[in-house]
């Protein structure tokens, strides 16, 4: 699904983030449209997580701005957070809490209407696919189960923008496929927008409508997977990325 001009839901403009005098992100800009899955691809330390954290308002940029449906993460606070949902790369769970209670706890913060909360929990339960395991303490979940409940939490609140940091990180093939399917189905059913980061090129090629290569805090290339492969005369995104950053270093 390609972006239409003027239909941008997310506008990231010239983000700069400095940690201890070192620029982790140096002027990152991109736009994402409604219904798009946008992938941020880069090696470890490229600035993916920092960029995503600035988009969701966890980090304040030193320069630049973020607008999601015209809302500013820092100025619009709760209004902003109501329309987004974030899944950090290494997110954990409350070990004594059951999966179902975790879903209810999250849903209750998005709506005061008990019926809406029930609907969200119901939807989250279906998305997680955890069945009876939902009533077990999450501390007893496997890594894949934890990731599924966290993804279910992310999507059950029907965010207009879901920001996913390495959504399949550390998962086996079965879980990874299930998670990718969940993301794709959610976007198609809800016409929602997703920004995700990954260094799994196969995953990105399968999921993303558009992709940005990020290296050392800078976006070096942006386009659809096909465009990028054509531009760098590569068979796959991995080769295109290596070409884009000027070879392996």
């Amino acid at each position: 699904m390609l972006a239409l001009m003027g239909d941008e839901e997310v506008i990231v403009d010239g983000l700069v983030k400095v940690f201890d005098g070192v620029e982790a992100v140096s002027g990152v800009s991109f736009r994402v449209s409604r219904g798009e899955i946008f992938g941020l691809i880069g090696p470890n330390g490229a600035g993916k997580t920092t960029t995503l954290r600035m988009i969701v308002g966890l980090l304040k940029p030193n320069r630049g701005s973020v607008r999601v449906f015209g809302l500013d993460p820092w100025r619009d606070g709760v209004r902003f957070r109501r329309i987004i949902s974030y899944l950090p790369e290494d997110a954990g769970v409350y070990k004594h809490m059951s999966g179902r209670y975790f879903l209810r706890f999250n849903a209750s913060l998005y709506s005061d209407d008990p019926r809406v909360v029930d609907e969200m929990v119901e939807y989250g339960a279906i998305l997680s696919g955890l069945g009876k395991d939902l009533d077990r303490p999450m501390g007893k979940y496997s890594k894949g189960m934890k990731r599924r409940i966290l993804l279910a939490r992310t999507f059950m609140v029907k965010p207009r923008l879901a920001v996913l940091d390495e959504p399949t990180s550390g998962l086996d093939v079965n879980y990874s496929v299930a998670v990718r399917r969940m993301i794709k189905e959610y976007v198609e059913e809800n016409n929602a927008t997703v920004i995700l980061s990954s260094h799994n090129m196969l995953e990105v090629e399968y999921l993303c409508d558009r992709v940005a290569f990020i290296n050392r805090g800078v976006i070096v290339a942006e386009g659809t997977p096909e465009e990028l492969k054509r531009r760098y005369k590569a068979d796959n995104l991995e080769e295109a990325f290596i070409e884009a950053i000027g070879g392996v270093y």
Binding site: V16, V18, F19, D20, G21, R53, V56, G57, L58, L59, K60, N62, G77, V78, R79, R81, R82, I84, S85, Y86, L87, P88, D90, A91, G92, V93, Y94, K95, N106, L109, Y110, L150, R153
Partner: protein, 434 residues
Amino acid sequence: MKIKTIAVKEFRELIKERTVLLGMIVGPIMIFAILSTVSLGAVKQVQEQIAAPPRIAIVITSPNPDNTGDVASFIASRLNADLYVGAVNEDELIRKYDSIVYLTSDAIENMTMGLKAHIRVLAKVKTLSFLTISTVQNVIAVLENAVHEYIAENVRQVYPQASASFLSDPLAVETMLYYKGRVMSEAEAMSTVLGTGFAVTIATLILVMASMQIAATSMGIEREAKTLEILLTLPIEGRDLVLGKVLGVSAITLLGILSYVAGMSVYLYSISRLASAPTGEEVSVGFTGGITITPQSVVYIAVSTILALIVALAIGFLAGILSQDVRGAQLASSYIGLAMMLPLFGVFFGLDLTGVTGPIRVLLYLSPMTFLYYTVWGSIIGEPSIITQGLMGLVVHLAIWVTISSRLMRSEEVIYGELGSKIRRILAKRRLQH
């Protein structure tokens, strides 16, 4: 060799950690510096009271021309005291003198006949503490010396067969204390000091430290369990997040509060019975004026304890926000908790918080525990103005700490939990702008 390698690695890692550096090296120096200031202030306060020689008045009640003159004059000259005969206005006299020694003609007669004499002493104290109560004993000691001297010079010649017990201990002194317009027995004063100085300090220390640890580690646990980032992106105000967390921890510590209040009530009740045991009349905790542990006092103590604990939790929570990990949060909350308890340690050493003025008063106001002491103390002595001051102080503290925590809760420092990082980032930002 391997052990040395591991030891060196461990030392190098730990010494670079700011929380360890602060907690283990800077912290103790700071704590002891502050503690010595507080205890010096307390000792100074007591020293001021006993620095000048006590002004003593001797009052001869029911004078008997046959025997009172010589004995009273002798004791008065040894004590450098003024002599009053007959009925006196006690209030006026205690305002003028530090102590009043009451001699009855019966007591003097006993003394001259080699029998134990009962003497009543009223000593004025500016503060109520273990130290000030013990200083009253100085006056008694001087009085006993004077009586011993009189016995040696006069009674032994007349009654060489006087009993050894009389010669070694000729007086039965009933000491009464005059404190802020109220008269109380020594036992009552001691029970009041125990009730506030000891019970409030020790019990509050245990409860506050335990609660603060729970609150402080709550953030560290969220950070280490990697649940914090999701929590911070949920649609909820920073203030609500802080209050929610603080109230959640409060619910856990509610049992502690209930146990604290129940225990303290039993404790105060038991020492008040001890103090009023001889008469068996109204249960009073302190003053002869009839100050009682009323249900109202228990409510004040309960409310102020709950407030003080919520404030402590908010501060502990703040320590958790600013600390890098659970270990740092524990260390920070321990030191902050101890620093907060300093005013109560001052009370333990004899400092009268309500009587402190100047910069030390401002320092004391930095701790919410000062106001807990005010409320408890005000409840015991029945001073509504002190109770109000205490409750208001606690409310102001609560507002300040919740506001600061809420602001920080919505800042990016909370993810890393490092105030130092923020300062470095501000400096880096300035460099970038230049």
